[in-house]
Amino acid sequence: MSEASQAAQSPTEYIQHHLANLVHNVQPGGGFWTVHVDTVVTSMILGVLAFGLLYLISRKVTAGVPGKAQAFFELVYDFVDGQVKDIFSSGDRRFIVGLSFTVFVWVILMNAMDFLPIDYFAGFMENVLHIHSWKPVPTSDINTTLALSLTVIGLVIIYSVKAKGFGGYMHELFCTPFGSFPLLWPLNFLFQMIELISKPLSLALRLYGNMYAGEIIFLLIAMLGAAGIGGALVGGLLHAGWAIFHILIVALQAFIFMMLTAVYMAMAHEHH
């Protein structure tokens, strides 16, 4: 619901205000050398909390009867491990599981920040901490999703070279999908490059798009609150409905990101 201080804003201003990052210029003038403080701080707090907690649990794991924390940890681990096993059945999958697990846990937590009621959160930041703009969902920042997907693709390239050797990887780049005839090399290479670029782009944009759109819809619903008591009631109902639906999106997007990470990593080990 809108606050009194925002009543004077136009809807466009309201939305833009909510979607603005807290910006810190590392170098004067900004440009590339700016940092979205909210994105970095939120995601790092979530990551440190989640993986720190899991680390504490993992120090006390037992092969006997697991405690509740360990049982939950094992549930998530078994889920990720099972998915990876289905995709990549031959060879040592520990690193792929570790990578997929990290992606799944971190992304689902960052996505889950979308459940925080936007205006209450913004109000808390504005009125208590006096921070003017704070975007709570790190994955609705293209920088986060691109960072994730580019890291994944970097690891895919590293593991391709590791699994097939540099020559093998180059052979794959130039001789597939059309064949090893020298005249086809440029065409093969072009296709491979398109694939290599489209992978991280599609990964990053899918997650970013879903979370950004979700946030915008929350904002649009919240604007109903400006239409008086009736609008507030309808807005509340719609908000609840969209939040419930969003539970699916949050988990699904994290799952898709994890699965595609595992698939790309498994493909890196495949020989053509």
Binding site: T34, T39, Y55, S58, L148
Partner: protein, 156 residues
Amino acid sequence: MNINMTLLLQAIGFGIFIFFTYKFVLPPLANAIEGRRRQIADGLAEAEKGKASLATAQTEVDKIVAEAKAKASEIVALAEKQRTATIDASKGEAKAAGEREKQMAADEIAQLSVKAKAELRDRVADLAVAGAERILKREINPQVHSDLLGQLKAEL
């Protein structure tokens, strides 16, 4: 959509999280799960073994029970035989004892009757001598007629 230094920071953070998770968080859990899997497999194998040994023990038990039953019936038969033997033996013994007792009584009776007869003979002889004495009135000299008297005694 402005791509900036945030990307680098997030990538660095992501890399650290991957490394930390892969190196420190997951291995103990994976080991524990693997250990439990092994424990369960061992337990199942152990149970299978236990079942097999139980079956062999059962056959062993059956054999022992059958043997014991046979032995018991054997013992019972033996005891039966021994009992009848003992009864027969004691019966015979008792009969023999009775027989002996009877014999002894008969002997005694015979002895007594002989003795009584002898006594009676003496008395009758005395009586006869006394009677004769009275009749003959000192006619008979005991020394002279002792032979005759002895003959009479023997005749009685």
